[in-house]
C-alpha cells in the first residue's frame, strides 16, 4: 500500500491520540512496574537476605555490646512484639487502622466525586485549581492541634486531617484521569445511542481508572502519614501507633519503640501491596 504524501496528511487530527497520558504527579507505571518475585529461588533469596540482615544486626549489637537505649537487639524487639502483641501493639494498630480508614474513605470519596464533577466544568476547574494545590501541598497534621481545641480528645480531629490529606491527592490524580477525553471512543458510544451516564460509566470512568488508582494509592500513603503523625503530635485518648511511639520514647523503652516502627512499616507495605494488586487487576490494560 503506497503512502499518502505527508503534506496532505499533516493536518489530520488523530481522534484517538491519547497525548495527555500520565500527566499526573505519579504515573501508572509507578504502580505496576515494580518487579515482583516469581521463582522459588527469588523468594527464597529475599527471605534469606532478611534473616541474614536480622542476625547480622543482632551479632553487631552483641559484639559491640551496644546498650539497649542506643539500639535494642532485633531479638528483643521480636520478643516484645510477640509477647505484648495483645496489649501494647494489636489494640493500637486497630485504632490507627480505624482512624486511617475512616479519614481515607471520607477523603477519597469526596475527592473522587469532586474530580468527576469538576472536570466537566472547565471554568470551575480553573477557579478552584489554586486551592487544590494549597490543599495538596499543605501538611494537614498542622491543623490537628487547632481541631483538638474545637473537637476534644477523640479520634475525630485526626480523621478530619486524614481526609484533608488524602482527598486532594485522590482528586488531583483522578482529575488528570477524567481529563483524558478520547473523542473517538466517546463517538463510538454515542453511535450506539449511549446516554451521558453510559458514556461516563463505560468510557470516561474506565479511561480514568488507572489514574484514580494512582490517586488512591498516593492518597492512602499521605493518609497513613497523617494518621501516625496526628497521633504523635496530639495523641487521642484511644491511643494509636503514633501515640505509642511518643509513649515509648518518653520512657526510653526502645524495644517497644522499634516494635511499633515495625508495625507501622508493615501497615504501609500492606497498603502499597493492596493498591498494587488493584492496579494490576484493573489498570494493566494501559501498560
Amino acid at each position: 500500500m503506497s503512502e499518502v504524501p505527508s503534506e496532505l496528511r499533516d493536518e489530520i487530527p488523530k481522534f484517538d491520540d491519547d497525548a495527555r497520558q500520565d500527566h499526573g504527579p505519579v504515573g501508572m507505571t509507578a504502580l505496576t512496574s515494580m518487579r515482583t518475585a516469581k521463582s522459588a529461588l527469588e523468594i527464597g533469596t529475599i527471605i534469606g537476605l532478611a534473616i541474614g540482615v536480622f542476625w547480622l544486626i543482632e551479632l553487631i549489637l552483641r559484639v559491640t555490646d551496644t546498650p539497649e537505649f542506643v539500639l535494642p537487639k532485633p531479638t528483643q524487639v521480636v520478643t516484645t512484639l510477640v509477647g505484648d502483641w495483645g496489649t501494647l501493639y494489636g489494640p493500637h494498630l486497630w485504632v490507627t487502622v480505624q482512624t486511617f480508614l475512616m479519614g481515607f474513605a471520607i477523603g477519597a470519596s469526596i475527592g473522587l466525586l469532586l474530580a468527576a464533577v469538576i472536570t466537566q466544568l472547565p471554568f470551575v476547574e480553573k477557579v478552584v485549581a489554586p486551592y487544590i494545590i494549597i490543599m495538596v501541598t499543605m501538611p494537614m497534621v498542622a491543623l490537628i492541634p487547632f481541631l483538638r481545641l474545637k473537637m476534644g480528645f477523640g479520634i475525630g480531629p485526626i480523621v478530619i486531617a486524614v481526609a484533608l490529606a488524602s482527598g486532594p491527592m485522590v482528586m488531583i490524580n483522578s482529575a488528570t484521569g477524567f481529563r483524558r477525553t478520547d473523542l473517538a471512543k466517546i463517538a463510538l458510544a454515542r453511535s450506539y445511542g449511549a446516554s451521558t451516564f453510559q458514556i461516563f460509566r463505560q468510557i470516561r470512568f474506565p479511561m480514568a481508572l488507572p489514574m484514580i488508582i494512582v490517586g488512591f494509592m498516593v492518597g492512602a500513603i499521605f493518609g497513613l502519614l497523617t494518621t501516625v503523625g496526628g497521633e504523635l503530635v496530639a495523641g487521642s485518648e484511644r491511643g494509636g501507633l503514633g501515640r505509642q511511639l511518643k509513649f515509648f520514647s518518653s520512657l526510653i523503652i526502645l524495644d517497644g519503640f522499634w516494635a511499633t516502627i515495625v508495625v507501622i512499616a508493615a501497615l504501609g507495605v500492606t497498603i502499597y501491596v493492596v493498591f498494587f494488586l488493584i492496579g494490576k487487576k484493573w489498570a494493566s490494560w494501559q501498560t
Binding site: S2, V4, L8, F15, Y192
Partner: protein
C-alpha cells in the same frame, strides 16, 4: 471528463432519487473553527444513495471523507445543508438504523475482544445475537482470539474486530471509514469478499470510504470521487461489473481500464490516491 467504456459518470449528485433516497446529502457543508481560522472540510456536497446500494467514496487524505461519514451518522452537525435518512433530517445518532466502523479500529483497550463486541449490545440494551457473532468471528479469522485484549492483537486484527462489532448489530445502513486500511493485500481481498457476501445476503446500504481505487471499484455500485480540500463532489462512476463479483475480475482488462479511468479523474479532481 472522460468516462470509461463501461462506466457512466456525472459530476453532480447522481440521479436525484426523490423520496426514494435512503441517504440524501443536501448541500452538506461543514466548516471547522480552528486556531488558524476557518477550515472548510465539506463544501456543498450533495449525493443521493438508494436503499441497498453499496457506494464507495474515494478522495485524497484530508478531503473530508471522515467528516462526511460523521455527518451521515449524526455524530456531528453540519454548518450548512443537511443529511436526510429515510426522508428525515439527521440530528443525532440513530443506533437502530445506522452502524459505524470508525477509521482506526477504535476498540476499548480495557475490554477483551469479545467484550468489545458485546459493548454495542450493552449500550443498546439488546440481546446478543450469538450465532451471528460466532459466524462473523469465524469468517474474519478471530474465533481463537476472543479473550485477547486489543494490545495483544495486530493492527489488522483490531480492524477486523471493529468490523465484527459493527456487523454484529446488522444495521440497515453501514458507514465504513477505511475499514481495511491496515490489512495486507490478501486479507483485504478476503475481507472484501466477506463484506460483499454479507451485503448480498442482507441488502444493507453501505457507504465505504477508501484510499484504494481497486477496492473502491471492486466493491461498488457507484464510486464517488471527492476533490482535495475543501471536499466537493468531483465525479461519480456507475460500476456495471456483474455480481457476484470475484477477485479474478480485478485482473481483467476491463477492470484495469476502469482503474485507469478513475485514476485520471482523481488526478485532475483530487490527487494522491493509491493504485494497487
Amino acid at each position: 471528463m472522460s468516462t470509461g467504456l463501461a462506466a457512466t459518470g456525472s459530476s453532480t449528485g447522481g440521479e436525484p432519487l426523490g423520496d426514494q433516497a435512503k441517504i440524501r446529502c443536501d448541500q452538506a457543508t461543514k466548516v471547522y473553527e480552528t486556531q488558524t481560522g476557518q477550515l472548510v472540510a465539506l463544501d456543498h456536497f450533495s449525493l443521493d444513495i438508494a436503499a441497498g446500494e453499496l457506494v464507495t467514496i474515494l478522495g485524497p487524505s484530508g478531503c473530508g471523507k471522515t467528516t462526511l461519514l460523521w455527518s451521515m451518522s449524526g455524530l456531528h452537525g453540519l454548518t450548512d445543508g443537511q443529511v436526510l435518512i429515510d426522508g428525515t433530517a439527521v440530528s443525532g445518532p440513530r443506533p437502530d438504523t445506522v452502524g459505524m466502523v470508525f477509521q482506526e479500529a477504535n476498540l476499548l483497550p480495557w475490554r477483551n475482544l469479545r467484550k468489545n463486541i458485546d459493548f454495542a449490545f450493552e449500550i443498546r440494551k439488546k440481546r446478543k445475537n450469538k450465532e451471528r457473532i460466532e459466524h462473523l468471528l469465524e469468517q474474519t479469522g478471530l474465533a481463537g482470539f476472543t479473550k485477547a485484549f486489543p494490545r495483544e492483537l495486530s493492527g489488522g486484527m483490531q480492524q477486523r474486530a471493529s468490523i465484527v462489532r459493527a456487523l454484529a448489530q446488522d444495521p440497515e445502513i453501514l458507514l465504513m471509514d477505511e475499514p481495511f486500511s491496515a490489512l495486507d493485500a490478501f486479507t483485504r481481498d478476503e475481507m472484501n469478499r466477506l463484506l460483499l457476501k454479507l451485503w448480498e445476503e442482507s441488502g444493507q446500504t453501505i457507504v465505504f470510504v477508501t484510499h484504494n481505487i481497486s477496492e473502491a471499484i471492486f466493491l461498488a455500485d457507484r464510486v464517488v470521487v471527492m476533490t482535495a480540500r475543501p471536499g466537493r463532489l468531483a465525479h461519480i462512476y456507475n460500476i456495471d461489473l456483474p455480481r457476484p463479483r470475484n477477485i479474478d475480475m480485478t485482473f481483467e482488462p476491463h477492470f484495469i481500464e476502469l482503474i485507469q479511468d478513475v485514476k485520471r479523474v482523481v488526478e485532475t479532481g483530487g490527487h494522491a490516491i493509491e493504485v494497487e
